[in-house]
């Protein structure tokens, strides 16, 4: 007897469709977007003869075509692990400082599709920043938060960015970053890192903070780690290599630490422990 299972529900470019059992991804392409030349099934490129199963997610892309706003979310996240985007697009993340760490973290989280980023920094883009920070020659002289906001909107206009061009102090941190469910510490100076963490933790003791310490120089990337150093404090870095005369800050290792931080944020949003596989 043939029951309801001879049909299957498939999401194509984030819209629900019903197809007969064993329909191939190529047949779906022919019916919904015949000019698509990139087929993605459950986050992974697929060849057209692949038969689909109930619940599969299919993304059909025409290379070179700029999608409409409604389709963009689905297409930007086509290579995500399914289910991730729904969780993180409702999230608000605060990033304090958008230099080498913060600019790279903001870009990673924007590509991941977080809903709302609050970025705060008093600084201006200078030529000496370009060895490691995610800015461009034509942005020299602009406040970093505004330059970064422009860059982020070119990647993913669906991410809401609140850009605060100001110096964070104990008196304004609660107001500026109060909506952040996870705080990213991305300052340069050790004293400022400590001030931010103490202030935020005093007001919001239950919210996680992801901090960076020890990413100068060109020592092994493998010494940069994510550690839980306090109840709600995760530290990314080697913990000891300071920026100092003779030990500069450079794009590779700063980038490693920044992406440790971004990954820790993503894991926290998904309810995972940033430092281990255990939930």
């Amino acid at each position: 007897m043939r029951g309801s299972w001879c049909f299957m529900q498939i999401k194509v470019n984030e819209k629900n469709h019903t197809f007969e059992e064993n329909t191939s991804v190529g047949a779906v392409r022919d019916r919904i977007k015949a000019d698509a030349d990139l087929l993605i099934v459950n986050g992974f490129p697929a060849s057209e003869e692949i038969p689909l199963q109930n619940g599969d997610r299919v993304i059909l892309i025409r290379r070179g075509e700029i999608p409409g706003a409604d389709e963009l979310d689905a297409l930007l996240t086509a290579r995500h692990t399914p289910g991730v985007h729904e969780v993180i697009k409702g999230s608000t993340i605060g990033i304090a400082g958008v230099g080498g760490l913060g600019s790279a973290i903001a870009i990673a989280l924007t590509r991941t599709g977080v809903g709302h980023l609050i970025i705060a920094d008093f600084d201006i883009v200078e030529p000496s920043n370009l060895n490691r920070q995610q800015f461009f020659l034509d942005q020299i002289g602009l406040p970093k938060v505004y330059a970064l906001r422009d860059t982020l909107s070119r990647i993913n206009p669906n991410v809401r960015v609140t850009a605060c061009h100001l110096r964070l102090t104990p008196t304004n941190i609660t107001e500026v970053l109060g909506h952040a469910q996870v705080l990213v510490e991305a300052f340069d100076l050790a004293e400022q890192k400590v001030m931010l963490i103490e202030t935020f933790a005093a007001r919001f003791p239950d919210r996680p903070i992801v901090t960076g310490s020890g990413m100068a120089g060109y020592g092994p990337a493998n010494t940069v780690q994510t550690q839980q150093v306090a109840n709600n404090l995760y530290l990314c870095g080697d913990g000891s290599t300071a920026a100092a005369p003779g030990t500069g800050l450079m794009a590779p290792r700063v980038g490693v630490a920044a992406h440790h931080q971004a990954n820790a944020v993503l894991r926290l949003l998904l309810g995972q422990n940033p430092t281990s596989e255990k939930e």
């Binding site: 300052f187 400590v194 963490i197 960076g212 404090l233 913990g239 000891s240 920026a243």
Partner: protein, 66 residues
């Protein structure tokens, strides 16, 4: 008395404040975050916060760069 300092048992005198404990270790308070019994404490409270037997104290040292 004994406290747990950065995960390890450590002997210290009775009724000592967190600030005095940090001073004995010659730690720069401007570059450390202090967690006392799983709560981060602000530097204004380091002086008034007294350590008791069995307390846990984590001192996280920060270096510059970002």
């Amino acid at each position: 008395m004994e406290i747990i300092f950065n995960g390890k048992p450590r002997e210290t005198q009775d009724s000592i404040s967190v600030q005095e404990f940090l001073n004995q270790l010659q730690l720069d308070c401007m570059q450390v975050v202090v967690e006392h019994n799983r709560s981060i404490i602000a530097r204004q409270r380091l002086d008034e916060t007294l350590l008791n037997h069995g307390d846990t104290l984590e001192v996280i040292h920060f270096v510059g760069g970002g």
